[in-house]
């Protein structure tokens, strides 16, 4: 579309304000803002208001403003403490597991072994299926009376009788964690694998020549190289772990007892089972607040990293 004599080209392009009109800005951004805002900002405001009122579906017609009392009530509730403890435990268990497993798998798949191409293709599968499907599959595997995993362990002689994974408070949270790790590990695996695949060979070779063992290579080359992706994965997986819901819904319903009552599950039951919308909203904001704090911390960490890099 060269028009050498058009007035536009007479102006050096660096000098003029290249780009589009404000109308274009508006047209391309506002529809998205509206759609997203409708389903996120308005509900956010509504939830914020709800969290400051006493809203009990069993007492309709009266939703008085009670300020921050919902927050105070939930913070004092013992079930909240249990939920926080369980969530903390679950996150502390799963996030490192997902990352470590993902890392190990990436390292493994990076090796030029025959047949690993197929594995590299298969590795994304657990992550791709709906969480509900994954949950139901794992229930069929874990059940203490007919679970296939129990059958496998029995056949291999690892156990001498079926294990009630989801009936023991100690084991239940580990079982949910196992299902969670199975489902989540592919993501860090493929990201780290991609990162490994672009490490310049010269760097690694130079280090090997200089006598650096595998561990030294790992610590001084791989980790620094992957620092960025690892931090992002850390944040993402933490968010996912903290907000786990579908798995609890399908596998345990929060039980046995209150062993797998995680925070998002507790928020759900407050709203839909206990019909206390004020509490549910307050809990949601507490959870969102915690996530925001964490993300802010992370961003600061990233900025520090970037500056020191």
């Amino acid at each position: 579309m060269r028009t050498p004599l058009s007035p536009r080209s007479a102006v050096p392009w660096r000098a003029k304000r290249a780009g589009a009109s404000p109308a274009y800005h508006a047209l391309t951004v506002i529809p998205v803002l509206l759609l997203v805002g409708l389903f996120t900002l308005f509900p956010l405001g509504y939830a914020a208001i709800t969290s400051t009122r006493r809203v009990l579906l069993t007492l309709p017609g009266s939703t008085p403003f009670i300020g921050l009392r919902n927050y105070a009530q939930v913070l004092h509730d013992s079930t909240t403490h249990v939920a926080v403890k369980n969530t903390f435990l679950f996150t502390a268990l799963t996030v490192p597991s997902v990352i470590v497993v993902g890392f190990l798998v990436a390292l493994l798949l990076h090796q030029p072994i025959r047949g690993f191409g197929l594995l590299r293709a298969l590795v994304l599968l657990p992550w791709s299926i709906p969480l509900v499907s994954a949950g139901i599959i794992w229930r069929l595997l874990l059940h203490g009376d007919f679970g296939a995993l129990n059958g496998l362990l029995l056949q291999l002689g690892v156990v001498h009788s079926y294990v009630p994974w989801l009936s023991s408070p100690r084991l239940a949270i580990q079982a949910v964690a196992l299902a969670h790790v199975w489902r989540e590990f592919p993501l860090p695996a493929i990201l780290i694998l991609a990162g490994l695949q672009v490490i310049p060979r010269e760097t690694v070779e130079a280090a090997t020549v200089e006598g650096a063992g595998a561990w030294a290579r790992f610590w001084h080359i791989l980790l620094p190289w992957l620092r960025g992706p690892l931090l992002i994965i850390l944040v993402y997986e933490t968010m996912i772990s903290v907000s786990v819901f579908d798995l609890v819904y399908v596998l345990t319903g929060g039980g046995p007892g209150s062993a797998t009552t995680l925070f998002s599950w507790y928020t759900y039951t407050s709203t839909f089972t206990f019909l206390n919308l004020g509490h549910g909203a307050a809990l949601s904001f507490i959870m969102a607040g915690a996530l925001v704090v964490f993300i802010a911390l992370y961003l600061r960490l990233i900025r520090v990293e970037a500056r020191s890099a």
Partner: protein, 297 residues
């Protein structure tokens, strides 16, 4: 030296096999269970391979032919849940909704992402933050207000409602990925086109989109996977098979006392085929776009 290398090969290969089993065992069991009779599954240990294999449950789902043993016996009939017949329409609904979400994302995503990537305008930072930051609030908090919105619009129990909601939930990620992806493209080509008198929109259409095709393919894949898997809002907003999606149907089947576990397994198998196919086909796009976004972030 060679022996060490040989041992290394074998142990790595062994680790690979273990990994393969870890990934695939749950899927294989679901498949096997779907082809067996329930009696076989409840033995300890269960029969691993279906012997004999029976497709009776699959036939029931697709054709309504009641498997042997469930046939009418006098006045008292053994139960088999009719909910399983809802799997094919549920799958259809899921696919329709997912397709709709892809269309919305591909239409609106590149448009706004390109503006964010290359343009400067007042309120840009705020708009960007608003779009991305809203993902932090858990679904439970926004469930009832969203329900109210959908109800006011008269869209309860419709696929359109789900499409809109999922689009609102996937657009932030789409825009984030695409913005970063576009920023990673060489700016000179676009600038040259601008100099030649093209509008931003034309540049988008003729220059950026062709270059961003891998990113767009990834976005399509992500949008599909998210919409297909979404459970909570689908559960809330749908109440009949007009709009019920696959996760809702299989969850319902799994708690129905009339479901044989083999039937549940059939549901699982059918529900995971579409996303698995997609993941296998779009694997490279998904990986590369995620990596590209992370490098930019």
């Amino acid at each position: 030296m060679k022996r060490a290398a040989g041992i290394r090969q074998i142990s790595l290969g062994g680790a690979g096999i273990l990994l393969g089993v870890f990934i695939v065992f749950p899927f294989l069991w679901a498949l096997s269970a779907s082809l067996q009779t329930e009696l076989a599954i409840f033995r300890r240990p269960p029969s691993w391979a279906p012997a004999p294999a029976t497709v009776a449950n699959y036939l029931y789902v697709f054709t309504g032919r009641i498997p042997e043993g469930y046939a009418v016996r006098g006045l008292l009939r053994s139960t088999i849940t009719q909910e399983a017949r809802l799997l094919p329409p549920g799958l259809r609904n899921s696919l329709e909704v997912a397709l709709g979400v892809i269309v919305v994302n591909l239409a609106l995503g590149p448009l706004s992402a390109y503006t964010f990537a290359r343009e400067r305008f007042p309120g840009k930072e705020i708009a960007y933050f608003l779009i991305l930051g809203t993902r932090l609030l858990p679904a439970v908090a926004v469930a009832i207000p969203i329900y109210l919105i959908v109800k006011q619009a008269g869209l309860l129990d419709t696929k359109l409602a789900l499409t809109l909601i999922y689009s609102a939930f996937t657009l932030p990620f789409t825009i984030w990925v695409l913005t970063l992806y576009i920023r990673s493209l060489p700016i000179e080509v676009e600038e040259a086109a601008l100099v030649d008198g093209c509008t931003r929109f034309t540049v988008l259409r003729r220059v950026v989109i062709p270059l961003a095709r891998p990113g767009l393919a990834a976005i399509a894949a992500f949008s599909f996977l998210f919409s297909y898997s979404e459970f909570f809002f689908a559960l809330l907003m749908t109440s009949s098979i007009n709009a019920k999606t696959t996760p809702v149907v299989i969850a319902s089947i799994s708690v129905n006392p009339d479901s044989s576990y083999t039937l549940i397994a059939v549901g699982i198998v059918l529900s995971i085929i579409p996303p698995m196919l997609l993941a296998l086909l779009f694997r490279r796009f998904i990986t590369s776009s995620l990596v590209a976004s992370m490098e930019q972030a």
